[in-house]
Amino acid sequence: MANPPSASSGNARLRQTSLWLFKSILPFAALAALWQFATLFFPAFLFPDLLHIVRDVGQIFTSWDMLSAALVTWGRLIFAVAVSLVIGIPIGLAMGLSRGIDDFVRPIVKFIMGVPALNWVIIVVIWFGSVELRISFVLVMLCVPITVFCVYDGVRAIDRKLTDMVLSFGASRLQHVRLLLWPYVKASAFTATKLNVGNAIRTVIVAELVGAPSGIGRELDMAKNLFDMPMVLAWTLVMVTMGFIMSFGIEQAERVVLRWRGGSHGRE
């Protein structure tokens, strides 16, 4: 019979949590201290005071105009990542299942992958009048190839013996995909989503800078024009936090959906 949790085990857990928190905060605290130290030697428009930056972050979260700009950018990110899954998963799956499709589609996807994000921005400015279409197109073009190759690799990595097992029970092509491939595709989709969030966050501002009437890009453009360095840094912090929140959400969903995968090899 299991023993009831004792006070000492509770203390141990508290110590462990405190240690984890300390380890997590320490690198950021060191970076902040270094920044604050730099403020002593540089003018405020280059290295503004930390308190000033924190005040501006507070302003972003308390002003609806600014907060809505952040939410618009966040919405664009989520939309682009979701669309890239919808487009990329079937393509990656088809490439993994058919050598013919792989041979035909792979060069096209690689070509798209090779186009720099800034080039896409210029192309869409010429192609499309709608700002939302421009931004979505750039982000989707950036995210789809990553999704395609993650799903493709996931399908190719499936043990041939499992395929033989499923087929030996008389599974149809559709059942093969649904019962065997889809769980692996889900795992690959999570990997792609994590990569895409990082890439999309880095690109969305570039896309928004080119004539978007709303979003963090526009706010950053305004702050740049005013030489408002604290606000630029405040928006940067918001963007990074946004990325952390999205990654955390994806990882939590992954833990639930892919419970069967357990921990990493050789780790608790």
Binding site: K161, L162, D164, M165, V166, F169, Q175, W260
Partner: protein, 287 residues
């Protein structure tokens, strides 16, 4: 490991195997299969293979590694097609049989091949799911089979939470759950430790007897072939029958009979080709 509720099998189970029916359960007639390699060379896997398996027959195939035994099983499941020759089940060409009676012929692999994201119940129910059995019904059947192989306490466990023996029991339960008429055992017990393998062989034989099943097994263990089979086919490489031995009831417990069968198999494997005998003899030495 959970205790199996099934009684241990004895020689009388095998003694009850019926005589051959008029139409054999499986008929393989002059089957040939050759694979073309990337360098243009050809590898002959099956050569003029001919044999029958009667309903409720327990046939063990022994032979050298690479003798095309697994290719034969792929052909029996309709996963590969022959270059020439015929495979019939219940007098029907294999393609008709597979199409009409999906799941009636199943295979137990050397490795458990369980899907890691499915519970033991859902793994056992997989073949039924493929056949379109409603969820509640297939899960009930799966739980009953898990209980039959002694895993009633592990119905919700993931494969990663089961021992090797438990996973192989789940694998066996999955094969039986579809109520197959024919089971193909592809070195099904070779990955297990000998004590677990002995128990599982015994349980398998009891289940096969109760379910009035026909099975064909490929094994590298002569003792396993004597224990489970009532006929042993000695294969040469490429796959062809070089000798057939009828296993009398109780042969596994009778040292004299078992030794005679072992010697007979060794002799025929040696005669079937130097390369083949080298492979098998090294395996026999390991036994």
């Amino acid at each position: 490991m959970a205790v199996n509720k099934l009684a241990p099998v004895n020689a009388s189970v095998k003694a009850g195997a019926p005589a051959a029916a008029v139409v054999p359960k499986i008929r393989i007639d002059r089957a040939r299969k050759t694979f073309v390699q990337k360098n243009g060379g050809a590898v002959e896997a099956i050569r003029e293979l001919t044999f029958d398996v009667a309903a409720n027959d327990y046939v063990a195939i022994v032979g050298p590694t690479g003798a095309g035994k697994s290719v034969l099983f792929d052909c029996l499941l309709g996963l590969k097609t022959l270059d020439s020759g015929r495979i019939e089940i219940d007098g029907q060409p294999i393609a008709n049989y597979i199409g009409a009676r999906s799941g009636r012929i199943t295979r137990i692999f050397q490795e458990d091949r369980l899907l890691p994201w499915l519970s033991a119940t859902d793994n056992v129910a997989l073949g039924l799911q493929i056949r379109g059995v409603p969820e509640k019904e297939r899960r009930d059947i799966a739980r009953r089979w898990l209980a039959d192989v002694g895993l009633h306490e592990f119905v919700d466990a993931l494969p990663s939470e089961l021992s090797g023996g438990m996973r192989q029991r789940t694998n066996i339960a999955r094969a039986f759950a579809t109520a197959p008429e024919i089971i193909l055992l592809d070195e099904a017990f070779s990955a297990l430790d000998e004590i677990t393998a002995m128990k599982l062989r015994s349980d398998f034989l009891t289940l096969a007897h109760h379910q009035k099943m026909t099975f064909v097994m490929v094994t590298h263990s002569i003792d396993e072939a004597i224990f489970l089979g009532n006929r042993i086919l000695v294969f040469g490489a490429p796959a062809r029958v070089v000798h057939e031995i009828a296993v009398p009831p109780g042969a596994a417990e009778d040292r004299v009979v078992a030794d005679r069968i072992r010697d007979e198999i060794r002799t025929w494997i040696s005669a079937s080709g130097r390369d083949a005998s080298r492979t098998v003899n090294s395996e026999l030495e390991n036994e």
